[in-house]
């Protein structure tokens, strides 16, 4: 096991791939693995690439890889696609558009199925980022599943969120304003050669203009691209570099990473507490009895729950 972590730190591709599988499959060894890698994390930039289905996220990423590779950066991609809620299977096809980099030693692409996790990424995404970070990748890009209004977990995971939009989605953009419009750090109007691209840009400017009316210096950049024709990508990367420099210098990058760590530790702690309670208190066994009492209206739900919690805390000597 420690062996696997050591191989990951040396950049061994098989070990990196296997480590990500361990995390995806929630193997018990995963905790030691992440603890072994964690001291080596924090050097990579993590970018989230998000936007509605068909916006051109994978194609854009393909071009970004092409340009960043010329700067000798090592790049990893985690491309998330949805799992079928019926079969649990998935077709992971994002890498199709990035396959020209398949034999490049400096590029690692991993497709990841959401496996029932909501939020636009997979449960394993944050662990996989740690593996890739420790393995020495300079840039880790997370391509989310096509998002609507609530798939916004990528915000916590990444240092920068690139929100890719396209003209022609009409009212869907209006509908997304509440959720997705708030998560982008850099806005990309892709397929700018299409009708309605300038109108879309104006709409985004309008929405952001209201949002940042009192802080115009916080106004977010909007870049227009045609990813498939390699247009606007250099400009996008300049904007991204500037943004990263800014958040590194003003401390917001550090704050953001710390905030995410806090939410991660909270979540894992709560999960473990609940697992312990389940196990020690035989919660599931007791639950059936409680349900009967409430269902037959012998007890009211909150009265029963509060009564049981008090009993439980007393058993633990917490009261």
């Amino acid at each position: 096991m420690i062996d696997l972590a050591e191989k990951v730190l040396k950049g061994d591709v098989r070990a990196i791939a296997r480590a990500i599988s361990w995390i995806e499959n929630n193997r018990p060894e995963k905790e030691h693995l992440i603890d072994a890698l964690f001291p080596h994390c924090g050097n990579a930039q993590v970018w989230g690439i998000t936007g509605p289905p068909g916006a051109g996220k994978s194609t854009l990423l393909d071009k970004i890889i092409e340009i960043e590779r010329r700067k000798q950066k090592k790049i990893a991609v985690i491309a998330v696609d949805p799992s079928s809620p019926f079969s649990g299977g998935a077709i992971l096809g994002d890498r199709l558009r990035m396959q020209s980099h398949a034999t490049d030693e400096g590029v690692f692409i991993r497709s990841m199925a959401s496996r029932g996790h909501l939020g636009g990424v997979a449960q394993a995404t944050s662990g996989a980022i740690k593996v890739l970070d420790a393995a020495g990748f300079d840039l880790i890009a997370i391509e989310t599943i096509g998002v609507g209004q609530t798939e916004i977990e990528v915000v916590g995971l990444s240092d920068i969120v690139l929100l890719v939009l396209v003209p022609g989605l009409g009212d869907e953009i209006q509908a997304m304003k509440a959720g997705v419009m708030e998560i982008g750090d850099i806005f990309i109007v892709n397929k700018k050669d299409r009708d309605g691209a300038l109108k879309l840009k104006a709409e985004i400017e309008y929405v952001l203009g209201i949002q940042f009316a009192d802080y115009p210096e916080k106004m977010k950049p909007i870049v227009m691209t045609v990813a498939s024709m390699n247009e606007g990508i250099e400009e996008l990367l300049t904007v991204t570099d500037d943004y990263f420099l800014k958040i590194s210098n003003d401390g917001s990058l550090q704050d953001k990473r710390k905030t995410y760590l806090k939410s991660e530790i909270r979540q894992i702690f709560m999960q473990k507490v609940s697992a312990h309670v389940n196990h020690k208190y035989k919660f599931e066994n007791r639950l059936d009895e409680w349900v009967d009492e409430v269902y037959q209206k012998k007890k009211r739900p909150y009265s029963l729950i509060n009564e049981k919690i008090n009993l439980f805390l007393r058993e633990c000597n917490w009261l």
């Binding site: 098989r14 599988s21 499959n25 799992s83 077709i91 199709l96 396959q99 398949a102 034999t103 497709s111």
Partner: protein
């Protein structure tokens, strides 16, 4: 919990007939597997690198151009060079019966020719589940 099996469906060679590969990819998804699909015209090198990065349990190669005797064994050879022999390789497409023994001898574990019911493919995968549950 049962391990979720990951399968790479890849098309080496120069033909663009990907209907079969797409059909199989979709059917395997419906059977509960995670299927990585790379599209047409993949080199054996790209297929092997992809399989390793994706940590797949199986590679399904589809080819209809007649270059199977060259390209299928090359994938197996490259996997061996990368110490990735644990990945099970299967083939499909218009493969003449006469070529099958030789392909199997070179490490392609099974060949599915046109008309094979998808249940045969799933049966093969399930029969090998123990081998890939590492």
């Amino acid at each position: 919990m049962k391990k979720i099996i990951r399968i790479l469906i890849a098309k080496p060679g120069l033909d663009g007939h990907d209907r079969g590969a797409k059909y199989v990819a979709r059917a395997l998804k419906d059977a509960g597997y995670e299927v990585i699909y790379t599209g047409i015209r993949q080199t054996p090198e790209a297929i092997v690198k992809t399989a390793i990065q994706e940590d797949v349990d199986f590679i399904g190669l589809s080819l209809l151009s007649g270059a199977h005797n060259e390209l299928f064994p090359k994938v197996v050879r490259l996997l061996h060079e990368q110490q990735a022999d644990d990945i099970i390789v299967l083939g499909g497409g218009v493969i003449p019966d006469a070529d099958i023994p030789q392909l199997k001898a070179s490490g392609i574990e099974t060949i599915f020719t046109p008309g094979t019911p998808i249940s045969d493919v799933i049966q093969f995968i399930e029969a090998n589940r123990e081998r890939v549950s590492r």
